[in-house]
């Protein structure tokens, strides 16, 4: 064993350890100081916002104050004040910041090599983005880092660009369930501008899985213009599509929905029937009380329970129907009625959200 080499290794290690200990203690001190400075910086920036809102700070004073702060601090405050300041004053603030050097400086991050810097630019655009930023947004939409692509999605709410909406729908269709759920929420926030895109896609759709996803999106959007498209698929050959229809219709309290759900209560697949019962209860389809009462005798236990819960949700008439079933004896309907009538309110609400709620995840598993 080379004694000198070992001695050198040990000496190096000892030195390194001492340095590390120094770093550790120093780091702790620096962090404490940084925390202090961060608090000061936040209060300076916050004060600048307050003074500008109160009209006691000039445009230049405000811009100078935020210019001296880290982008993250200003972004947090912008997020905070976005829900406090509204109307013309907010538009004025946006215009003022957009014209400043600070805005140009931060948006340059969008072209950075480092994804976390591009993320800062995305966060800025999600509050201050406008149509003129479209080339930048479009570029970030195709970013190579998933985190940036995910973060840029809400920016679409600030710009009305049909091509990007179309890309977003395409992304949702090809995504895994979790990402799809997230994109659905973003699309739902875009509202009416998505409807023509979905309509066009439904027309072109050839696979049941894709159709099911699009129908689910219609439900998420609450797009009543497309209710006919949903009910029109209640007899689709794919059970996955029919289950989606049964689920989506809970978002549309409309006689047309109640009719379609009543017909789905005689579907050959038990899961579809159970979901139809749930949805019928949720939209309050009182006129379909009789079909729900019939469903209390269904061969599937889940259908019976969900039909019972739906009846309970329908109010006095539904409760009376349940009591009638209970008086009828110890048959299937009587047992289901007893079970449902004994449920306390929290357990009842638990059935609503959890039994068949995870549509996006279950879609595709039936056929």
């Amino acid at each position: 064993m080379n004694f000198e080499l070992l001695a050198l290794v040990v000496t190096t290690e000892t030195t390194l350890m001492l340095i590390m200990l120094g770093v550790l203690v120093g780091r702790r001190m620096v962090l404490l100081r940084q925390e202090e400075l961060g608090t000061i910086e936040t209060s300076v920036a916050s004060e600048a916002f307050k003074r500008w809102i109160g009209g006691t700070a000039s445009r230049q004073e405000f811009l100078d104050s935020i210019g001296s702060c880290r982008p993250a601090t200003v972004l947090s405050l912008l997020h905070k004040y976005a829900v406090i300041i509204r109307g013309d004053r907010w538009d004025e603030l946006i215009s003022m910041i957009r014209e400043s050097g600070w805005f140009n400086y931060v948006t340059r991050y969008a072209r950075s090599r480092f994804w976390w810097r591009r993320l800062v630019a995305v966060r800025l655009l999600s509050i201050l983005g406008r149509e003129q930023d479209l080339p930048l947004i479009s570029r970030l939409f195709s970013d190579r880092h998933q985190m940036v692509r995910i973060a840029v999605v809400p920016v679409l709410g600030r710009v009305n660009e049909q091509a990007l909406v179309d890309r977003l729908v395409a992304m949702a269709l090809s995504s895994q369930p979790v990402v799809r759920g997230y994109l659905f929420q973003a699309l739902a926030r875009l509202g009416a501008s998505v409807v023509p895109v979905i309509k066009d896609r439904v027309g072109r759709s050839s696979s049941p899985d894709e159709l099911a996803i699009l129908l689910a999106l219609i439900g998420e959007l609450n797009a009543v213009e497309l209710l006919g498209t949903v009910t029109g698929n209640a007899r689709h050959e794919s059970a996955c599509v029919r289950l989606t229809v049964a689920t989506v219709l809970r978002a549309f309290p409309h006689p047309e929905s109640a009719g379609a759900l009543a017909s789905l209560l005689s579907d050959p697949v038990a899961q579809v029937r159970a979901q139809a019962a749930v949805s019928l209860g949720l939209i309050g389809g009182v006129e379909k009380l009789q079909v729900l009462q019939d469903a209390l005798t269904d061969v599937d236990g889940n259908v019976r329970v969900n039909a019972g819960i739906a009846l309970r949700r329908l109010g006095a008439d539904g409760l009376e129907a349940l009591r009638r079933a209970l008086r009828g004896g110890a048959d299937r309907a009587g047992e289901a009625a007893r079970f449902v009538l004994n449920l306390e309110e929290p357990a009842l609400s638990g059935y609503r959200g959890q039994e068949y709620g995870s549509l996006i995840a279950t879609a595709g598993g039936l056929d």
Binding site: M1, F3, G181, A347, G350
Partner: protein, 472 residues
């Protein structure tokens, strides 16, 4: 005698080579884990993402909780799990044939009523006595079954889980309120995630209120305290480094999330295994590689679960012996994967590392110490050189541990008080002097137990969370 001398000299060279290669690999892991932690830190800092993650876009999750004789804490634990910040989750509690009041307490606290069998898959488990739901709380399912061990209980839960993602949680583990949201994050950022693990931290000594950690503390108790830097090293530096290499082999059984369909494909948890978490991940890797599925099993540093660690020598020894015995048995039953290119990075890098670097490490360390002692006696080894070598080896270990502490301090800085910080550094420096040698002996003992065919967990004495804080 000359032969012995020659053998000693040769073994010394071999051990030195082993030392250099192993530590170079540790250095590589360290090198890789720093940017990985940085990446996660940047994501964690994004407030917007936190808001998106709080939304209903998240996938529904089934939380599986096996419970055996947990009467002291089961109701509080289930309450905490039900109260987790997550938009759509159910809690499946499995009473695994408890002989105490666990089932009665659950029945009473949650006003349980029996429901028809809910099994949705064909995982074979011990006899299930009954399934229950709650009259007063939504989202809870209780399974009462004959005792079959943790893996069997988890299989029973897996069979009735309704949601596409399942989380395995120990009933005596405290989950931070937002940990489930954080744990689900990789499923949004990477479509190929098959499973993900979070960080386990030590609850001993922490200030606790209503089954929540309100002030993380470094325990005063020597044994519990020594495990704090050890856990930091294992999670922050080890597993993050493996993230980059694509080969995490351990998702902690106390807190991990899995795609349910994949678990069903591999037949769920294997009963009779003493480290069901490692066995599960190894089989998952094997299955997905053989199927040619693109997948990843990342470790996520910010979802935190707190667990009570052993604070007496006997229990700690049993735990470490069991962990290493589990590694021995897992390696033995999957030895065909070692250096097998069919399993990609798992077969070519991860398995060989776990075999040579983890499995054999305590044996080599013991052999090295004995050889040095014998060599010194025979005059083959120079005492100064031997001591220097030991110092170099221990020094390297200390540097690795200190690096993990620096990573923790630069990011999460869980332990806020300066006294805790100093205690943490103190434990990190003290580890090589006695504690490390004890763990080596327990790990060596694992080989003996494995050879004797021992498959039991051993009695794990825990003081319970009501006492864990008293360690401080």
């Amino acid at each position: 005698m000359d032969l012995l001398r020659e053998a000693l000299v040769q073994s010394e060279s071999l051990i030195l080579t082993y030392f250099v290669i192993l530590n170079s690999f540790y250095a590589l892991l360290l090198f890789l884990s720093v940017p990985e932690l940085w990446k996660h830190w940047q994501i964690i800092k994004d407030d917007d993402l936190a808001r998106y993650l709080g939304s209903e876009a998240l996938p529904a999750v089934s939380v599986m909780v096996p419970a055996y004789n947990m009467e002291a804490s089961i109701v509080d634990s289930v309450e905490c799990l039900l109260a987790l910040k997550y938009s759509n989750h159910e809690v499946i509690v499995v009473n695994d044939g408890s002989t105490d009041q666990t089932m009665e307490l659950l029945r009473e606290a949650f006003s349980l009523y029996e429901v028809s069998p809910e099994s949705r898959s064909t995982l074979g488990t011990k006899r299930v006595r009954a399934y229950y739901r709650s009259r007063n709380r939504p989202g809870i399912v209780v399974i009462d079954k004959d005792n079959g061990g943790k893996a069997d209980a988890l299989n029973a839960a897996l069979a009735v889980a309704r949601f596409p993602l399942v989380v395995a949680v120990d009933a005596d583990t405290l989950i931070e309120p937002d940990a489930l949201i954080r744990l689900a994050r990789p499923f949004l950022l990477d479509p190929d995630v098959a499973a993900a693990g979070g960080t386990i931290r030590i609850a001993n000594g922490c200030d606790m209120r209503h089954q929540r950690i309100v002030e993380p503390r470094v325990p005063h108790s020597f044994l519990a305290g020594m495990q704090v830097p050890e856990y930091l090293r294992a999670f922050l530096f080890g597993r993050l480094g493996w993230n980059v290499l694509g080969g995490t082999l351990i998702v902690s059984g106390a807190f991990g999330i899995f795609r349910r369909d994949y678990l069903l494909e591999i037949g769920g948890y294997r009963t009779g295994n003493v480290v069901e978490d490692m066995d599960l991940i190894v089989r998952l890797h094997k299955h997905l590689r053989e199927k040619g599925v693109r997948y990843s099993v990342p470790f996520i540093p910010d979802p935190v679960a707190w667990t009570e660690v052993p604070s007496d020598l006997t229990t700690l020894g049993r735990q470490r012996e069991r962990w290493h015995r589990g590694l021995v048995l897992t390696m033995a039953s999957n030895w065909r994967m070692v250096f097998n290119p069919r399993y990609g990075v798992v077969g070519l890098v991860v398995f060989p590392f776990f075999f040579f670097g983890e499995l054999l490490a305590p044996l080599i360390e013991i052999v090295g110490l004995i050889a040095t002692a014998v060599g010194f006696y025979l005059g083959v080894v120079d005492l100064q050189a031997a001591l220097l070598f030991l110092t170099a080896a221990w020094g390297y270990g200390m540097i690795i541990t200190l690096t993990a502490v620096i990573m923790e301090e630069s990011t999460f800085r869980t332990y806020r008080s300066f006294a805790d910080f100093l205690r943490l550094v103190g434990y990190a420096l003290a580890e090589p002097f006695g504690y490390r040698q004890m763990t080596v002996l327990w790990r060596v003992d694992a080989f003996r137990c494995a050879l004797r065919g021992r498959h039991s967990w051993g009695d794990m004495k825990r003081r319970g969370f009501s006492h864990a804080g008293a360690d401080a």
